[in-house]
């Protein structure tokens, strides 16, 4: 589904080149829920942007749905959810969800149908006519997920979508995201810096570390596909969380966290 091979990415900045990614290789299978976790500067967002063709790697090979990432972008093979919900304040919730559909030239009947469907999927019914700034942060992020789902791409790329939300709201949205993933059987790549979030959501956890941004560990989660919040007290969960923490630590041998 997604394959990343020996990808290097160097940004030229005024302070000299910055190694954002170094020799990164990764396989994502169809239906996977993959989390990228690591401290800031580890390149997790950059890796997601490379997959989305928002950045071009300096070296290496990326394949998304059997094509180069820029072709996949043009074929609208993925939906992207940004850290800031990035809703357009001059559009209502349903207007925002229709935005990609308008751009992609869907008929107005289909726009209505798809908008209705995804609004139900993210449980925003009754808020279609509200403007984003009239909603809470959690609801804004749900609308933004609905917008990414509207055109039914089979890959969902999410860049710390719940990073700015408080833990209670985040727990709920995590649960809802799992349900949504199960119902829609999408492939999800999810950037986070929260260990419990990564372990709770993922089938595969990619641990990254900075300077240069690289993958230090890939953990295949033994947890069942159907999960409740209680699973976080299970032994397996705690073991995986420990392994993630170890992986994060090992990337910082030369410096203190």
């Amino acid at each position: 589904m997604i394959s990343v091979e020996n990808v290097d990415l160097t940004f030229e900045t005024n302070d000299g080149p910055v190694h954002a990614l170094k020799e990164v290789s990764l396989e994502v299978k169809e239906g996977d829920f993959v989390s990228f976790i690591g401290p800031s500067g580890c390149g997790k967002t950059t890796l997601l942007r490379v997959i989305a063709a928002l950045e071009t790697p300096t070296k290496g090979n990326v394949i998304v749905n059997n094509m180069p990432p820029d072709d996949a972008r043009k074929a609208r093979e993925y939906g992207y959810v940004f850290q800031a919900a990035g809703l357009y304040p001059w559009r209502t919730v349903s207007g925002n969800i229709k935005l990609p559909l308008e751009i992609m030239g869907y008929s107005s009947k289909e726009k209505e149908e798809r908008t209705k469907k995804v609004i139900e999927l993210v449980e925003l019914k009754g808020f279609e006519k509200k403007f984003p700034w009239q909603l809470s942060g959690g609801m804004q992020q749900r609308a933004s997920i609905a917008r990414a789902l509207a055109f039914d791409a089979n890959i969902l790329l999410m860049d710390e979508p719940f990073g700015a939300l408080d833990e209670i709201v985040r727990d709920r949205l995590n649960g809802e995201l799992l349900k949504l993933w199960e119902r829609t059987s999408k492939t999800i790549c999810f950037v986070t810096h929260s260990i419990p979030e990564a372990v709770y959501l993922s089938t595969k956890i990619v641990v990254m570390s900075p300077r240069p941004g690289r993958i230090t560990d890939v953990i295949q989660s033994p947890l069942p596909k159907e999960r409740t919040l209680e699973i976080r007290d299970s032994k397996e969960f705690i073991q995986i969380a420990q392994r993630v923490r170890e992986g994060l630590k090992s990337g910082h041998l030369d410096e203190d966290l």
């Binding site: 989305a52 972008r73 609208r76 992207y80 304040p89 001059w90 751009i103 992609m104």
Partner: protein
Amino acid sequence: MNIFLVLFFIVWILGWLINIRLSLIKNAKFLRFFIPTLFGFVILLMWEFLVLGLNINPVLLPPPTAIALKFADSLDILWIDFVQTLIKGALSGYILGCGAAILTAIAIDKFNFLKRGLLPFGNFVSALPIVGMAPIFVMWFGFDWESKCAIVVVMVFFPMLVNSVQGLELVDHSRQDLMKTYNASYTQTLFKLRLPSALPFIFNGLKICSTLALIGAIVAEFFGSPIKGMGFRISSEVGRFALDMVWAEIFVAALAGCLFYGLISLIEKQLTFWHPSNQK
């Protein structure tokens, strides 16, 4: 002490007392319109009584009643001048200048090399003194409103350009990336994202330029015009010491300026209801 001076002091003190009383009332909605109206009315009354009481030469300052009489008496001339200067000169120049500036801003935004060339040039043009350019433009475009229109275009172009360019630049990066993930075309991004998010800046420019256009069109007429127009009337009536007519023209200009500004603000409120400063 004559009767008018006594009336002057009575109005002053009454106005003061009413103001104190009003400031104690909490109902803000009714006061929002009432207080400025009352203030203006008191000022006019004090002006009237002071001019009459001190026997001031009407050339220096005519009383408001004389201005009002002259205004009512010369509605036809004032209308002709209004059409000549504000509709033909100012409004046409405003629409042309602001329209051209917005289009140029879009071009600058698309082609970065234009930014380095056009912005400094625009800056230079805007620094040209209007009193120097006006006679030249009159020679180029003739005595009628066309030369005034040209002056207004030059005056409004740069402020409008700078505001529009800034508005287009300040678009949120993740929203732009979002458009890219949809594989949106340049025009789709422009109309669905860039222009709407630049609207608050564009309206800022439009508001600044509305007063500039007014001033430009009137002043330009000082340097040659047919025998109509507000600037022409002001300069010729000053020569005849008919200051009441000058004041009547000033009143028309102020009224038109306020109404035009208000109209733009109203449209702005409608179109940028989503901006944090308007959110309810």
